[in-house]
Symmetry: none
Subunit: 147 residues, 2 copies
DNA sequence: CGCGAAGTGTCAAAAAGTGTCATGAATTGG
DNA sequence: CCAATTCATGACACTTTTTGACACTTCGCG
């Protein structure tokens, strides 16, 4: 049997960071169907990428069987050191993002949360609106998706 | 913040050694989900590597099945020779690192604790920041591993 | 024994992080 | 169109964490 797809991350939201560096995870991405424990990574694109915990956990479990010199182990170690664990608080669903990650992504108060299927992305609003893909029409997007 | 993946060491922290050579283990790496007994090893990379006690125990167990001349056995014997046991004190979570190990890694007051999945590393801050690949991203880390 | 070195335990203050309430905006359902 | 509900967010109280300071213990040595 196959593991069912846990909740997926769809649509796009604009939320804001509070004074302590927390941001509300959209309620669509919380609750029964979604994992509560998340990992935040800096992305090459200048945003943050947020994956459910199970994604990295799988990799780390594998480490036990890898030798100390295995290049694959080195890769997983690299993932571990840049990952930040985060869990939205149960009452209002805010998650905390550390300063070093926020500054990597140039995040100020206004942010955009972008659903990307198995993960979501956090963009600074300015950066996001400056992206060329921003003015994709629904038709263009549909064409790109081949539907 | 709390610790999602059972017993794994994630993210990177800057902490400092006190006058007696103790350093605070990040609270994320203490508590229920993590082992309290640790082993410190000098690494040839010029840092210290800290593993939970069970890791070395597993290695030693492995020795049982190795012949006396097996080079792998020699490696484990070497590990046992250089290991220092350490246990963060329960009140504030500081662990003591012996002078010979601190000087091996060129450790002064300012240190960086680097989560590496099944273990963590302790680097002198100067050395750490001088290393290349400071702004490693998810894509860099994941690429070579084919994730 | 008394001394010093080395290691350990504890306190308290500041900083950092977390929980919760209340408001107002937005959405849903008659 | 109004009432009921849900959601995001500012504000603020509360807790936890890190760290310097210092007292205390242990051990070896003359």
């Amino acid at each position: 049997m196959q593991t069912p797809v846990r909740g997926s991350y769809l649509s796009t939201f604009e939320h804001s960071f509070d004074a302590k560096g927390r941001i509300t995870v959209p309620s669509d991405w919380r609750g029964e169907s979604h994992e509560t424990n998340l990992h935040v990574f800096p992305s090459k694109d200048g945003c943050l990428k947020v994956y459910p915990e199970s994604w990295l956990a799988r990799q780390i479990e594998e480490m036990g069987s890898l030798s100390l010199e295995d290049p694959r182990r080195k890769q997983i170690e690299a993932l571990a050191r840049i990952a930040q664990a985060a869990k939205p608080d149960p009452k209002v669903g805010r998650m905390m993002v550390r300063e070093n990650l926020r500054s990597h992504a140039g995040l100020n108060k206004e942010a955009v949360l972008v659903g990307s299927g198995d993960h979501f992305e956090i963009w600074d609003k300015k950066k996001w609106t400056a992206l060329p893909a921003q003015d994709l029409t629904l038709e263009d997007a549909a064409a790109a998706a081949g539907i």
